[in-house]
């Protein structure tokens, strides 16, 4: 069998900046706070870093979507890099981490600093959440172009809330999924956030609160949508043998999933009840002998609640179409349930760190540092997954 090259990589350190709503701090500073914390956490020095990777990198995008690109961090820290990578066209947010795994596996670098930062809460100010692509302009001659915008914005589908709601509605139609079932993703996240001092929303959320919340885009209400935040997250991905003698016991990368075998499109994907995450999940299990029943904790992207349900199905924690009944009542996904889910509160309650927060929490749980929210029983295997629509990437991690 071909070698599973990602097993030559390990996670050796993690870091996070201050996280909050409208911090009004320099986004580069938030980014660097996370980066320096990760370097220190691994027991490394700045000069040990020879690789740098981020998602999505510097780009003109909706306000606050990216806090810094490769070039800014490279220069601010005066890194001496053998390999670097930044961009949007990869397997979702965690594609940047997978790329780092491959860089260390192939010998292009030894310790890669991976980072993702956002400042959407500050950038969007006191108004409502911003539409994607400057759709709210009105006049000014803005014209939509590119595959993601040309066939969405002219139809008043301004937000990923609309694009994902279309998938959720089709899932409801085919499988009888209900809002009361979907609510469990949000309620579970809030319960876990209550035990996470870094989480943004920690006060209790009830089913009544959920069902009486204002609608955003049916079937989604306010609590199905993640909360824009300011903050940075960073990891050190090290060549496994170079991670052995660092400060922490390294977390092994067992397998990654990066596939997108369907069309790379929000509206042309072949199955409107799942998304690219179907393919990334399938690939992950093609690369390991471990099975979903071996997983002790799952940290699955919840930019919108339905995406988490779709990841649960795609990763095989339940059968396709049975996600609704699986999460009904919330017991199976609770911290003491069959598959503890989004133990930090997810983006729905802890804040939209855009993908990287899930991998961070997977590491926290595997290192046993979750404090009040730590999953019991010394978890050994975790899956972290990020992305919705045509974006998807996932990693299976072990204490091996």
């Amino acid at each position: 069998m071909t070698e599973i090259l990602e097993r030559r990589a390990a996670l050796s350190g993690i870091g996070q900046s201050e996280i909050g709503r409208r911090l009004n701090r320099d986004p580069l500073e938030l980014t660097l706070d996370a980066c320096l914390a990760a370097i220190e956490d691994a027991g490394l020095a700045r000069d040990d870093i020879d690789g740098l990777s981020t998602y999505p990198g510097a780009m003109g995008a909706s306000p606050g979507f990216t806090g810094a690109g490769v070039t800014e961090v490279h220069d601010a820290l005066r890194l001496k890099l053998d390999w670097f990578n930044g961009g949007l066209e990869t397997s979702g947010q965690l594609g940047s981490v997978v790329n780092a795994c491959m860089a260390v596996a192939t010998g292009l670098a030894t310790h890669v600093l991976c980072f993702r930062s956002v400042w959407e809460a500050t950038a969007q100010g006191k108004g409502r959440r911003a539409p994607i692509g400057g759709g709210g302009g009105g006049g000014g001659g803005f014209r939509a172009s590119g595959p993601m915008m040309e066939f969405t914005l002219p139809f008043r589908a301004y937000s990923a809330a609309n694009w994902i709601a279309l998938y959720a509605q089709r899932h409801f139609h085919e499988y009888g999924t209900t809002r009361e079932q979907l609510a469990q993703i949000a309620l579970n996240a809030r319960k876990n956030a209550a035990c996470n001092p870094q989480a943004i929303y920690r006060e209790p959320l009830s089913m009544d609160d959920y069902l009486s919340a204002r609608l955003i885009s049916t079937p989604f209400c306010l609590y199905d949508c993640d909360v824009p935040a300011d903050g940075g997250t960073a990891f050190i991905v090290s060549r496994a043998e170079a991670a052995r003698d660092l400060r922490r016991p390294p977390i092994a990368v067992e397998a990654v999933g990066t596939a997108l075998r369907g069309r790379p499109s929000w509206d042309q994907f072949d199955d409107l009840t799942t998304m690219a995450l179907r393919d990334a999940s399938a690939m992950l299990w093609e690369r390991t002998d471990l099975r979903p029943t071996d997983v002790d904790v799952a940290e699955l992207y919840d930019g919108f609640s339905f995406i988490t349900l779709a990841w649960l199905e795609a990763l095989g924690f339940c059968k396709k179409g049975e996600g609704g009944p699986f999460i009904e009542g919330g017991a199976r996904i609770a911290r003491d349930g069959q598959i503890p889910l989004n133990t930090h509160g997810g983006q729905l309650s802890a804040g939209r760190l855009h993908g990287y927060g899930f991998l961070h929490e997977a590491c926290v749980q595997l290192w046993g540092e979750g404090g009040e929210r730590q999953v019991a029983g010394d978890p050994q295997v975790a899956v972290a997954a990020a992305g919705g629509g045509p974006l998807a990437g996932c990693l299976l991690l072990t204490r091996r």
């Binding site: 040309e150 008043r156 042309q268």
Partner: protein, 137 residues
């Protein structure tokens, strides 16, 4: 027709103008592979089925089926007509050609999966936005 809502308009290019301006003649047009008949959307200079480069615009019937929908309540852009219906429709000629669009001409609460719809066009400047209305039963 009622007052038209604000729309972000597409950048019209030689590659996509058959689609965005076909409505001037009341036609919904897609690129079609001449050798094998496959409709190509979004526009691309090669047939995804047989890889022929002989693709050119053709009109379709404008009949389609609602594959899924959402009622948008959030005022991303101020407008008096919330909620409005966003849908993905599949065209009769080739169901894997889909359009994200709006369903007009009915109450948003009447929109449902499987609904048969027919194209109509909303003109904004030089663009004819294809939206869909229920087929009279």
């Amino acid at each position: 027709m009622a007052e038209q809502p604000f729309r972000v308009l597409p950048r019209v290019t030689p590659q996509n103008e058959h689609f965005w301006r076909g409505g001037a003649e009341g036609e919904l047009r897609f690129l079609r592979c001449q050798p094998c008949g496959t409709y190509v959307h979004p526009p691309a200079p090669v047939c995804p089925a047989c890889l022929s480069k002989d693709v050119s615009p053709e009109a379709v019937s404008g009949r389609a089926t609602v594959a899924t929908y959402t009622l948008n309540h959030q005022p991303w852009v101020p407008s008096p007509d919330h909620p409005y219906a966003i849908a993905i429709v599949e065209i009769d000629e080739q169901p894997d050609v889909r359009l994200m669009t709006n369903i007009v001409g009915c109450e948003p609460s009447d929109v449902h999966i499987g609904m048969q719809v027919q194209v109509c066009f909303e003109q904004h400047e030089d663009v004819f936005v294809p939206v869909f209305a229920p087929v009279a039963s």
